[in-house]
């Protein structure tokens, strides 16, 4: 290895490594705690001192996905032997399962609204970004300014007129309404990010394609899209994560049919107090996909979170 003054020496690297790993362990602890709490029994979850070693239990997950009613000894006996493992867990708590909880529905809403708005955002966004990148379009230079200023408005502030608008159009508490809303909110960011990615594709590729007799649409579809695939994918993940995590609009504009998981998870309560293992189980199922996406996205993370202002 060649000598370099900019290469830190071994001791420095060790010291830096130990500090960073230390911070990482502290910062990840609350997340591991959430995941662990999901597998605790309610008694273990509120034990003092907090239990690090515990007997794993699926009670939290069973309570998350089911509605249960308290049953007397006689009723439990009359109900006969439990048929499934989850019924057995419910019986052990002295309850019988009366039906599925609404968590499944809420989670599905999150999936539908998240993926729906991402898909729409990508279709509209890629087309617009291509036009902004390749053609002379009015307002082009004001775009970043526009993006920043729409992000300055607190969501609650625009929620009032959106609430009124949706009420008049019958879009309150509908999947379509939420998909359109999240698309509108994400669109400026995704156009801007995608424009950055498309700008990086040499224009000569398309010119060559046009000379070969491709139409503009074909050149866009066969040359630009494949080249921009990575950029489109990472922008899509950003839109998905935003729609997935969004809370303010969801809590104000949805109540039943189209409610997503973030407003729902905090409302999970058990019999006689907060059912922390169930809350933790709900949070775990909801948060883990985002962690997976973060790993997929790590190379383009910076670009997305700074609205393309910083490119690595």
């Amino acid at each position: 290895m060649s000598f370099s003054v900019t290469e830190p020496n071994k001791g420095t690297k060790w010291f830096a490594g130990v500090l960073v790993v230390g911070y990482a362990l502290v910062t990840i602890a609350p997340l591991l705690w959430i995941i662990a709490t999901g597998f605790k029994s309610p008694a273990d979850s509120i034990a003092y001192p907090p239990k690090v070693v515990f007997e794993p239990s699926m009670e939290g997950y069973v309570n998350l996905f089911t509605e249960r009613t308290r049953a007397t000894e006689d009723m439990l006996e009359a109900a006969g032997e439990p048929e499934t493992w989850y019924e057995e867990i419910a019986r052990d708590q002295g309850t019988v399962i009366s039906g599925p909880s609404r968590y499944g529905e809420r989670f599905l809403n999150s999936v539908v609204i998240g993926f729906g708005s991402t898909a729409l955002c990508m279709i509209l966004g890629t087309a617009a970004a291509y036009a902004f990148s390749r053609f002379r379009v009015p307002l082009k230079d004001d775009l970043l300014f526009f993006i920043l200023s729409t992000r300055m408005m607190p969501p609650i502030a625009v929620a009032i007129p959106i609430f009124l608008m949706f009420r008049n159009l019958g879009l309150n508490d509908t999947h379509l309404g939420m998909i359109l809303l999240y698309t509108g909110v994400n669109l400026s960011l995704s156009v801007w990010l995608l424009k950055g990615f498309i700008d990086e594709i040499p224009i000569e590729y398309e010119e060559a394609a046009l000379i070969d007799g491709y139409t503009r649409f074909q050149a866009f579809y066969k040359v630009v899209l494949p080249q921009a695939a990575t950029g489109i994918a990472s922008t899509a993940i950003f839109c998905l994560i935003f729609a997935w995590n969004e809370y303010a609009f969801a809590v104000l504009l949805t109540s039943g049919t189209a409610q997503t998981a973030p407003p729902f998870i905090p409302t999970i309560i058990g019999v006689g107090g907060k059912d922390w293992p169930a809350v933790a189980a709900g949070a775990t199922i909801f948060l883990v996909p985002v962690m997976v996406f973060t790993i997929l996205l790590r190379k383009h993370l910076l670009r997305g979170i700074t609205f393309g202002a910083v490119r690595k």
Binding site: K13, A128, F135, V137, I160, F217, F286, V290, T306
Partner: protein, 316 residues
Amino acid sequence: MMKNTPIEKIASATPDNVARHIRGLSDRSIAWIFVAPTIFLLLAINIFPLIWTVWLSFTNSRVNRPNRDVDWVGLRNYERILTDSDIWNTMQATAHFLIWTIVLQVLIGFMLAFLINKKFKGNDLWTTIIVFPMMLSPAVVGNFWTFLYQPQIGLFNYVIAFFTGADPASFSMIGDVHLAPWAIVIADTWMWTPFVMLICLAGLRSIPGSIYEAAECDRASKWRQFWTITVPMVLPFLMLAVLFRGIENFKMFDLVVQLTGGGPGNTTTLTSIDLKREAFEKWRTGYSSAYAVILFVTVFGLASIYVKALNKVKER
């Protein structure tokens, strides 16, 4: 002609005269076809509501009473807000939250980035782990921090008690008037420090090694190199991070509303939480619209001044 993709299928199914028409489209019309849907949606979701808010702010509208006449009241809403002492308390709570989160996140974030930039083995892996909190849903995270902050049984209280020897049941981070403002600062710092770290890291990595080599030739000490090369070169990045965090935390809602709900009392009632109460609990639509406009103008004004300063630093 190959007919394996949907686009080609559509293309071959298009009648000749229409197809010729599409092929013949000028770049200009293609540009409009590509941009129009986006512009339409942006206008409908972003611009139109904004204009509506401004209009509502001059009226006494209450959307929970649709049959009542809406009267034009001029600037009365603005007058009432600016003379209301509660609003200033809210602003104070927001300022406390804003200043401390930014200070802590900049210090910790920069330090972390500096250390990660020492390129020890496995730094990529640990960076990804550190980044996790900021990608998660703030509402869900806030809800879970209430569990960590529980007196006695909460992990946070336990750890603090373990190191300080205090009784973990003796203090409640979210129930105490003096501790609650710090509870939200800690949770937000935990969540968003990685954001500042990532931007600083990009700044550090953008500094060419040759500058340090030149400084080394001039026998500049490491300490001097840090203050005359590293800090000025990272400053524009750091300022950008502060801009983003500033805007985001000025409109902070989800994390704090789940964590403390604005309480105890009004100690953690940030502007967005106050605005939500006015607009969706008291249903004072006109009043809260004026409130929203004032907030928007404030952020917008502060951000514009800040961006000017940022550009000056960049030019240097």
